[in-house]
Structure formats: C-alpha cells, structure tokens
C-alpha cells in the first residue's frame, strides 16, 4: 500500500484502526520528500528528527486513548510565515533567514492538540507577496503537474507539497488569493475562511485586515476536517471571532433584508456540511467574472461544473456583481499600506538579518532592510509608504477603503439572492516559470477573481474541475457570505462526489517506486544493522588486542 497517496482523513482512520503506525505515516511522507523534493522544492525546512520523535509520542497518546481526533498522527506541512517554536520560520526572506520563533502560532497549536505531526515548513513568495512562489529567497517551487510551470502563490509550497503527496495536507495563508490560486494551479483543494475564523496569532502579518490561515488538501473532506481543528476564537488575536455567536443570513430572494441576526449559526462543525445534496441551493454566476480575460477552457470547465450542480438540484443564474475592475487597485492600495506598516518591525534589532557595515542607527535600519528584503517586497513597501504619506492619504488610502465599502455592499446584495457565488480561481492555468516576474502588473491582474473575497472578508474554496489541453489543472472557486463556510463546503463536496481526484504523473510514478521502496528500505536497514554489529565486534576484537 502506498501511504503517501492517502487523504488525511483516510490516513487518520487507518492510524486509529492501528492499520498504519504514526511512524510509518511520517516515514511515508519523508520518503516521498526524498523522492520528489529535488524536482519540486516545496519545503524551506524539513524536520525529519523532530517529526519522527513526535510520531512516537503521538502514537503513545493514540494508544492510551488521549488522542482520538480525525488528524491524530497525520503529517501536516505548514507555510513558512506561520510561527513554529523549535523550527525556523523565514517567510522565505533573507531578513528572517535565521529566525527561530519564541512561540507557536495558535493555528499550529490547535493542530498539535489534535495530534497532527508537523513535518516541515513550506516555501512561499517572500512575505506572501506574489502569485508564483518565485519571489522566495530560497529558490522557486515547481508545479508537480509540469515542472516547467509555477505552482502559483503565495502558498505555492504548501499546494505543491500536497499535489506531490509529500504530505496529505498543509496550512496556507490567503491575503488576496494565496490559498485559492495555487490550489487551482496544483489541482488540490483549499479554503480561505471568513476573516477572523482562524487566529492570526503567530502568522507573520502582511495585510492584517485581509490575512487568513486556511487548509489545503486533496479533497473537501480533508479541508473541512482541518478547518475544524484550526479554527478557534483566540484571546491573543483581537480580530478572531467566536463563531458560536455569529449567524449567517438565509438567502430569500431579492427582497431579503436580513442581517447577521436570524439565520443559521456559523459554528465550528464544518464536517457536518459534508453532505451530498444541493437541492434548492441558489448559485450566482457573475457575468463580470466570465467575460474578457478569462481563458476559454477554464470558462468551459467551470460552467460544466455548474451544470452538474444544477443536475443535482441547484438553481443557477447569471447576474451582474459590478465593481469588479476596482477590486485589484483597492486591494493593492490597502495591502501595500498595511504591509509598509507591518514590515517596519524588521529593523535588524530584535531578530533576523543585520547588515555588517553601518554608521549609526538610522543607517543600520536602512541598509539592513535594503539588503534583507527582495525586490517585490521593497516595491510594495514603497507603494504602501506613498499611499499613506501626507498629501496622498485621502486620494489613495481613504479612496480604497471607501471602494472596499462599496464592494462589500455589492456582495451583500448578491448574497441576499444567492447562497453561493461561483467564479474562476484565476484567469489562466499555471504559467511558465519566469513569465510573470518581468512584469509585476501582469501578475497583479491575475488576482482579479480572488481579492474581492479578502476585501469583503468572505470565505472561498477552490476545487479542481479538470485539466486544460496542456494537462494543467483548472480550479473553480465557490465564494460564500460571511460565516457561510458550510454552504460552500456542501456545494464543493456535492460536486466532488461526481468526479475522481486526479493525481499528477509525478505523484503516480513516485508511488510505484515507493511501493517497492518500502521493501528496499527494510532490506537496506537489515544490511545496515548487520554491518553495525560486525563493526562493533571488530572494534571489540581490536580493542582487546591493544
């Protein structure tokens, strides 16, 4: 059996049934990493020893009944902007190259409480700024479906790791599409939750009002299970919410004026929404998302998926969302403004890189930052500093916040009529490496379908709906109203039941090798043990002679 090809929920079940030990599960991940990492490069840090040690500890806790959850014993990879005590956390930046966090992010602590085993930290665009994982200081990650193409970004490492089956699931973060777009590019499933659902404590901030941590996995079931574990109200993050006191409205057609009071409770029981039924669900298809600029094959595959949902009883309708052209400029103003403020903490004093030569404090700050940050990060810090500066603040920053209010209103109107909105995750499938870096504007425009959910705080899921003629995966996005994760999970799950999970050839080939490899490893270990005994005996003989 090839353990690496299992889903997180499937693996967890076999671990609880004692069919697979936690050490075996972790070994399977590490073996796959050994096989494919040289090609894919999903990871910045791999914690082999720590993971194997932790595996033994988790196994004991499962054996004596202390750990019973769905993810107990399951290996998980964590994006490298999420703090992990005992493991470096770099944001894929030179300025944090040697940073060892003094604490662990709340989302990761929740994973640990659930018995997950953190196997390593995944590559990303530097400080999550980028859509290709090419701005990483530690080199690019490649798309497991085609190594000449990008995995998307900024959570490219996490998505590539799941697609290549280096781990069954991973955490990413999403500020403007950084979970949903790479999930689409790598043919996996990812959720950006409602703002505030997962604590941001320990997530190194990029755009604080937009950032959310979320799950990435092979299927909707795994994502729901993972979200159920990581979501929590956390007093250490004042923007985290208690979902038990929020309710989401019911869509009741155009005249609905219901607010957040008086609907279904938002709750934390995401797996309860894994229901294969969309009877009566209203699906909105924004015309503005399916016009010019969208690749024809993507449009075709997504509309085909909508038809499948209609056959299952959903009611789909086109509508005009409006304001779509304003989302990207508003997003880049707000995200850059927040980034310029958030990244001011990297000054060469408290942690991270410090320049070697400097004259005085101010010079030290400037040189440290100029040498420590990469090009894209500096570009956004400059833009952010500009839009917040006296004289431009009203014209740019306040204007963007007013635009955000109007975008939120447009979604409010849409969700008065529809349960979910269907959209592409990106205008194209994964581009070739090096294609976007030459023209940042072009890369920014690729975020057109994802940034609005961040601006309006909405949950969104990206699920695979097939491949294009180049053999690259196509992702469909399902966006829900604030707190309405269960609706998007239900829609995505229902769609998923109609199609099989597609694996990249790289993972299939690695599986074949790995199945033989397990026997090989046992043989190799036996040889090593025998040699060790022989050496010991030889030493004893020689020692006796001396």
């Amino acid at each position: 059996m090839d353990i690496a090809s299992l889903t997180a929920a499937g693996l967890g079940k076999k671990i609880r049934a004692k069919e697979i030990s936690v050490v075996e599960a972790v070994r399977a991940s590490l073996d796959r990493i050994d096989q494919v990492e040289k090609d894919v490069h999903s990871f910045v840090t791999i914690d082999r020893e720590g993971a194997l040690k932790r595996a033994e500890d988790v196994q004991k806790q499962i054996d004596d009944g202390r750990l019973t959850g769905a993810l107990a014993g399951v290996p998980v990879a964590v994006k490298d902007n999420i703090c992990t005590k005992g493991m470096p956390t770099t944001c894929s930046s030179r300025i944090l190259e040697n940073f060892h966090p003094a604490f662990t992010a709340e989302a990761v602590r929740n994973l640990e409480r659930g018995g997950a085993v953190i196997i390593g930290k995944t590559n990303m665009d530097e400080f999550a700024m980028g859509s290709t994982t090419e701005t990483s200081y530690f080199g690019v990650t490649r798309n497991p479906w085609n190594l000449e193409h990008v995995p998307g970004g900024s959570s490219g490492g996490s998505c590539a790791a799941v697609a290549a089956e280096e781990c069954p699931c991973a955490l990413g973060s999403d500020t403007g599409g950084s979970i949903r777009q790479p999930s689409a590019f790598c043919g996996v499933t990812g959720i950006k939750p409602t703002y505030g659902t997962v604590s941001r404590y320990g997530l190194i901030a990029y755009g604080s009002s937009l950032d959310q941590i979320g799950p990435i996995a092979k299927d909707v079931t795994d994502c729901a299970a993972l979200l159920e574990v990581i979501a929590s109200r956390d007093p250490k993050d004042s923007t985290s919410i208690d979902r038990s006191i929020y309710v989401h409205r019911q869509s009741k057609g155009p005249d609905s004026q219901e607010s957040f009071k008086g609907g279904q409770p938002a709750g934390y029981d995401f797996t309860s929404a894994l229901v294969n039924d969309v009877t009566g669900m209203r699906i909105g298809i924004p015309r503005d998302y399916f016009g010019e600029g969208l690749d024809g094959e993507i449009k075709e595959k997504i509309l085909a998926a909508v038809r499948v949902l209609e056959e299952r009883g959903a009611v789909a309708e086109e509508f005009d969302l409006s304001l779509v052209p304003y989302a990207i400029p508003a997003y880049y103003v707000i995200a850059s403004a927040e980034a310029s403020s958030n990244l001011s903490r990297f000054d060469g004093v408290k942690y991270g890189y410090r320049t070697q030569d400097y004259e005085g404090l101010h010079d030290m700050y400037k040189r440290t930052r100029s040498e420590g940050f990469g090009e894209e990060v500096k570009r956004r810090i400059m833009l952010g500093s500009f839009v917040l500066s006296a004289g431009y603040y009203d014209a740019y920053y306040m204007k963007a916040l007013r635009t955000k209010a109007l975008i939120k209103q447009a979604f409010d109107q849409a969700f008065a009529r529809y349960d979910v909105i269907v959209a592409p995750a990106a205008p194209t499938t994964a581009l070739k490496l090096g294609h976007s870096l030459s023209d940042p504007m072009k890369m920014y425009l690729g975020d057109i379908y994802t940034v609005s959910a961040n601006l309006a705080g909405l949950p969104g899921i990206s699920i695979p709906v097939g491949t294009d003629s180049k053999g690259l995966p196509i992702g469909m996005q399902i966006i829900g109203d604030c707190f309405a994760e269960k609706k998007i999970i239900r829609a995505a799950y229902t769609l998923e039941q109609t199609r099989a999970y597609e694996r990249p050839a790289l993972a299939k080939n690695a599986s074949k090798v790995q199945e033989h490899g397990a026997d090989d490893r046992q043989r190799k270990e036996a040889v090593q043990r025998r040699e060790a005994v022989q050496r010991k005996e030889a030493v004893q003989r020689e020692g006796g002679a001396v």
Binding site: N98, F99, A102, F103, Y195, S209, R233, P235, S238, T239, I241, I245, Y246, F260, P325, Y326, I328, A330, Y332, V333, S340, S344, D347, V349, K350, G352, Y353, R354, Y358, G360, L361, H362, D363, M364, K366, R367, R369, S370, F373, K378, R379, I381, M382, L383, G384, S385, F386, L388, S389, Y396, L401, R402, T403, K404, A405, L406, M441, A456, G457, C482
Partner: protein
C-alpha cells in the same frame, strides 16, 4: 492622467519606508510606482461619495477577560534571535551623540 513622481517624492518615500535605494533602484521604483498609480487611478471613475471608509467588514463585539496577572519571562527566547545582544538586552548603535 499619467502620474509623474518627482525625485523629491522618491527620496521622501525612501525615508518613510526606511530603504536605501541605489540610483538604478530609484529609477525602477519610480517607473513601477508611476505605472501602478496610473492603474490605481481607475478608482477615480468610481463615485464613492457617501461611502464610509470600511476597515472591518462585519460587526465585531468586544470580548473581555479577567485581568489576571501572569509571570512569564520569555526574555531568553526573545533575545535568542537578536543579531547583537549584551547583558540581557538588544545592542544597537549609539543613538545619542
């Protein structure tokens, strides 16, 4: 309208951003920023009159906790990351002449 960023503005933004840019980097930054601002200016087409600037997207409720004192000394862990340290403190260049 094409945005033109003056040398003074680039200098000023560099000071705000605490970045030291070479002449070439300044030129690039200027070109990038002009291009970006030209694009962002599309927002001017949109009438935002009467729209309140929105920072948080849904109503948030204050959550209180008991004011309980706790003894936590994380100084060792915190200082472990300091590029330069001295006597349980971060060491920085002289700030007063």
């Amino acid at each position: 309208m094409a945005n033109k960023i003056s040398d003074e503005t680039i200098e000023y933004v560099g000071i705000l951003a605490k970045l030291e840019l070479s002449q070439k980097e300044k030129e690039n930054a200027r070109a990038d920023m002009e291009k970006m601002l030209d694009y962002i200016d599309i927002l001017n087409e949109l009438d935002t009159e009467g729209a309140e600037p929105l920072s948080h997207v849904f109503p948030v409720y204050n959550v209180f906790r008991e004011d309980v004192a706790s003894q936590e000394d994380g100084s060792e862990d915190t200082l472990a990351n300091a590029p330069v340290k001295k006597d349980n403190s971060f060491k920085v260049p002289r700030t007063i002449g």
